[in-house]
Symmetry: C2
Subunit: 370 residues, 2 copies
């Protein structure tokens, strides 16, 4: 439960951030703010959920993924403290990484010092036959600065360099930055889509800790117990209707409509099969007045979601690679209705109950109350 | 940094929760919602910061601490599903743990089922020469229910049994519950102090993830670098004054006033010693208009806070036991002014700079800007 809750939370958060980012790469930058060793599982979950790379070198190594990040401020600071300049720090870095040269430009001042110095180094690199990768902005008004950076880089002949933005980003901040770029960039002669097309997001704290909603409330509740080979359903009452667990040995299915969008998730008892049901009655999980009926003609596919992992103490599940899980996430997400995917006040996608499960639940609640 | 940030955060959160709890025991219950394996370090940090025990069996074992928790709802649910009753579940539990019998009473209904059943079991236990430990309330209005539970337990002759409360608790919720008990209990003939004196808090999600503020923003910044055996100070500029790091090889001291309360933390350069300073000039960390002067006559103690842990790659620090760290926390907390310890809008305790450090910082900022 400890592992499930956290990793599901972070994969979901990463999916939300990726979703708003207009397809641009997302780098997970959070290890320093992660909850101890949990950060490793979080970085892996982020990769599955929507991050393209992580700066967590250890977990990248374990997963066989290349880590991605930039140099630190300390590299530039060390040069300056020893009597050299930001330019010399950048040059030294470019000497070591001529083909991976991405420079963090805000140690002194992004527009007045960092960018002019980065452009000098990029020109020197090009003269030596290398193409620079880009720059990183880590403070200040990231929308404004990225527009100005794009102007300067374009003018200097580097219209294709990447602009990494970072600094307390999350899905809402990125959304706001993109909106601001779309409105502001044309005033400076920059095509917003061109600028957005060179952005990369570095997201740390607010991804790895899902800041603001740092826990997913998954619980372990007994729902059935075997008595002489038969499942006996179990229940627990609660003052809050939605907290009363659904009893019994159950299955869950996802039902796709003719548009190939998921239209409902349906929870039923283990011996039920929605394929066999003529008029599929979907009960709202708690509101007894709401029942929806689906006919097989309206249904494109019924996908069983429950996957067997353990049988008699043996693992019967084949592990998937990160890449396979990423693909699964992409194809699952594509089959969700845009209304459900909305970032703020999305359409709530309830997990409905079959008639049989609904009846069982009501019976058990009644018998417990007596 | 990963380990420092998280553990400091959770120890602080635990201290806040302990602080508001009027000295009653605090149990850390968060493992299922913790960030993966990070939960172990979090439980340890909670024990140092203010929790008395944790339900995390693994880390308790490692630390040599007894774990503490209660039985789960599933125990009662299993009995009911198999055709027995809540009372029989409680009796079975009491048979196994006659001297540690603490019963979770909200599986069916706390006041109508759980408590009457618990009282029956407690009476049976007493007849057999054992004293029951208490009950746990895990849902509903915990202030109201704990008052009603106290009434019922008192009337049944168990005025000393513990009442554990749990369910999305944090420092503010506990504060509210205690305030409500103080106001409401007398109406039911219950002395508030007596009731509060039998409470125990079980705090999970909001402690182990510091929900709402799930990260402490500790950073690694280069502040000095050795050049021919000499420390050269380094700096990084920032648009935000408070984010510009304090340069140089530094020390930090805590200064106690004649009341033996900490009156200031002072950051100075490595070769400075506040003991030698006649009029100690404390510079506000960012506001250049604020300087405070302390004279040695006003000072009870100057405590150096920086402790050497590594020297030339060797660990030179003696590890302390959890108990020693708890003691340290208690004595440190006692020397903080009540205004600083206040839960909401506390007096902000700035870390001040010495004159020498202040001057160095201004010089470096000026030279970077040029």
């Amino acid at each position: 439960l400890n592992h499930l809750n956290y990793q599901t939370l972070i994969a979901t958060k990463a999916a939300r951030i990726h979703e708003i980012g207009l397809g641009r790469p997302l780098l997970e930058f959070g290890i320093r703010r992660a909850h101890g060793k949990g950060g490793n599982a979080g970085a892996r979950a982020a990769l599955i959920g929507g991050a393209d790379f992580t700066s967590n070198v250890g977990i990248s190594h374990v997963l066989g993924y290349p880590p991605q990040g930039t140099h630190a401020h300390s590299m530039v600071q060390a040069f300056i403290a020893l009597g050299y300049s930001e330019l010399e720090a950048f040059q030294a870095y470019a000497d070591v990484y001529p083909d991976d040269c991405l420079l963090l430009v805000d140690t002194v001042n992004s527009l007045e010092s960092g960018l002019p110095n980065a452009i000098k180094v990029f020109e020197q690199l090009r003269q030596r036959g290398h193409e620079p990768v880009g720059i990183r902005l880590d403070s200040g008004d990231l929308a404004y600065l990225s527009i100005q950076a794009a102007c300067m880089l374009d003018k200097a002949g580097f219209p294709d360099t990447t602009i990494v933005i970072s600094g307390n980003l999350d899905e809402l901040t990125i959304w706001q930055i993109l909106t601001q770029i779309q409105g502001e960039a044309p005033r400076y002669g920059i095509e917003p889509d061109d600028l957005i097309g060179r952005l990369v997001y570095g997201v740390g704290t607010r991804l790895i800790t899902s800041r603001g909603n740092s826990a997913l409330g998954g619980v372990y509740k007994l729902v059935a117990i075997k008595k002489q080979g038969q499942w006996e359903p179990a229940i627990k009452l609660s003052e809050t209707l939605s907290k009363t667990p659904n009893p019994g040995n159950k299955r869950v299915w996802r039902i796709y409509d003719k548009r190939d969008y998921a239209t409902a998730d349906l929870l039923g008892l283990g011996d039920e099969n929605p394929q066999d049901m003529e008029g599929l009655r979907l009960h709202h999980p708690t509101d007894h007045t709401k029942v929806r009926v689906l006919y097989q003609d309206d249904i494109a596919e019924i996908e069983p979601l429950l996957v067997e992992v353990l049988r008699d103490g043996e693992v019967v599940y084949k592990n998937h690679t990160i890449e396979e899980m990423r693909q699964q996430r992409v194809s699952d997400m594509e089959r969700l209705d845009p209304g459900v995917r909305r970032l703020i006040k999305p359409h709530i996608y309830h997990v409905s109950l079959t008639q049989e499960l609904w009846d069982l639940k009501q019976d058990l609640i009644r018998s417990m109350r007596q």
